[in-house]
Subunit: 230 residues, 2 copies
DNA sequence: TCAAAAGTGTTTTACCTACACCCATGA
DNA sequence: TCATGGGTGTAGGTAAAACACTTTTGA
């Protein structure tokens, strides 16, 4: 009978959590308070427990290191270079999520593994611990790719937003400027935006209409992704 | 200093290898010769060694269990349910590939872990060991999705093929019938097919032109995948 | 001569792209 | 009244979809 080997391999989760704030795309980083890479910036990530599924581990770890709860994350890649962890063989399953920053929501690690958690602009990231820079890059590619064929960007915006805000977000993620009229046509055409009877407030120019994302219609339209004509 | 825990977690690779033969989509299965799941059908898969990267482990494992070498595989998902392996905590990184079956190529396991390896039609799979049915399904979705926006199906065909063969392959993977004229227009339009001066032989009806896949042009066109108009 | 598959074009519709001006608002 | 962004339409091109008949070949 085959028996599992006894070498000390373990696995971890790392999270690439995107947020959008002050016109900038940001990700969540922690300052590590433990070796290895003590005092370095890192993606929120830690070891999976023996009796914990990957998805649940991801939720727990994100919560413990940043205080964020109930974030829907999706797995996107597993990194397994032999020497990616200085203390042994650790492969890591990377998850990503796009979330809404409701103003300056407090980030409070609940373990001492992280000294603090902060939102960091992606265009100016510091050197990261382990292979986390590579993990971030692959995660960024993932959302850039996904946004091109699924309007998932709403997740990053406040509940009510203007079309211009939405466009800016696309421009930041795709790293190019978009045509205003074409962008609006396309977005409205999707049929997943609810126009509100409300307008922007506190701006010193013509106030823009506010929109809401219609999650139900989105689900209907984008659940069946396959397409290849008759 | 943080120390890695000592519980016996390990990881494995499982491979979903697609082939196309006699008008049928098939995957490669092995008959297991070891516990657990001795005598069951399973995806080719085994434990990763301590000093081996995931990608290299995938190559080695596929070779050892089936005799196939130099197959380009891509990772697509990692399965980590707590109880997916009866003997302990084993997460598995799943890889897929699409390959060409040059006639009845011999499959010869080089370890005794697999009693034999065979091509099995996907529409009639037996019960599989572990959570391999789930892994297969996710892999199938992956190629179905990918083929809808990238003409990767060539990998499955013989070097020279007719447009009708190509269309049948698409129909099998997408599970729907396609319009002949539209299909041909679209494929030829991609500009990645070389028309040969050769025709099909040995058929009792009008012989079709043979085509070759132009890998260089394919690479040029499909390396930059992002698109969202100005 | 028949069976079986090869091969071929046109029309309609939808979507993408490019492009420029007037409008509403608060300071 | 001015600066700032909000908001709008049209024309041209490209790709997808629907649809049916003639041609070639070997048996």
């Amino acid at each position: 009978m085959e028996v599992l080997p006894k070498f000390d391999s373990v696995f971890s989760i790392d999270c690439v959590i995107f947020g959008f704030d002050e016109g900038e795309l940001k990700i969540l980083l922690i300052e590590r308070n433990v070796e290895p890479f003590k005092d370095w910036w890192a993606l929120p990530g830690y070891l999976v427990k023996e009796n914990e599924s990957l998805d649940l581990a991801a939720e727990r770890i994100l919560y413990e290191l940043t205080g964020l709860r109930d974030i829907f994350m999706e797995q996107f890649y597993t990194f397994g270079d032999v020497d990616r962890h200085p203390q042994g063989r650790v492969i890591t399953v990377a998850y990503y999520a796009m979330i809404r920053l409701n103003g300056p929501k407090e980030l409070k690690p609940v373990t001492s593994v992280a000294r603090k958690a902060v939102w960091y602009p992606v265009k100016d990231l510091p050197k990261l611990a382990f292979d986390h820079t590579k993990i971030f890059q692959k995660g960024f590619l993932k959302i850039r790719n996904k946004i091109s064929y699924q309007p998932i960007a709403f997740e990053l915006l406040p509940e009510k937003f203007t079309l211009t805000q939405l466009q800016h977000l696309y421009e930041v993620i795709l790293n190019k400027t978009l045509d205003k009229r074409n962008f609006r046509k396309k977005m409205l055409n999707y049929g997943i935006l609810k126009e509100l009877d409300e307008k922007q407030k506190g701006v010193s120019y013509r106030a823009a209409k506010l929109y809401k994302f219609d999650r139900r219609k989105y689900a209907k339209i984008f659940q069946n992704e396959l397409s290849f004509g008759k």
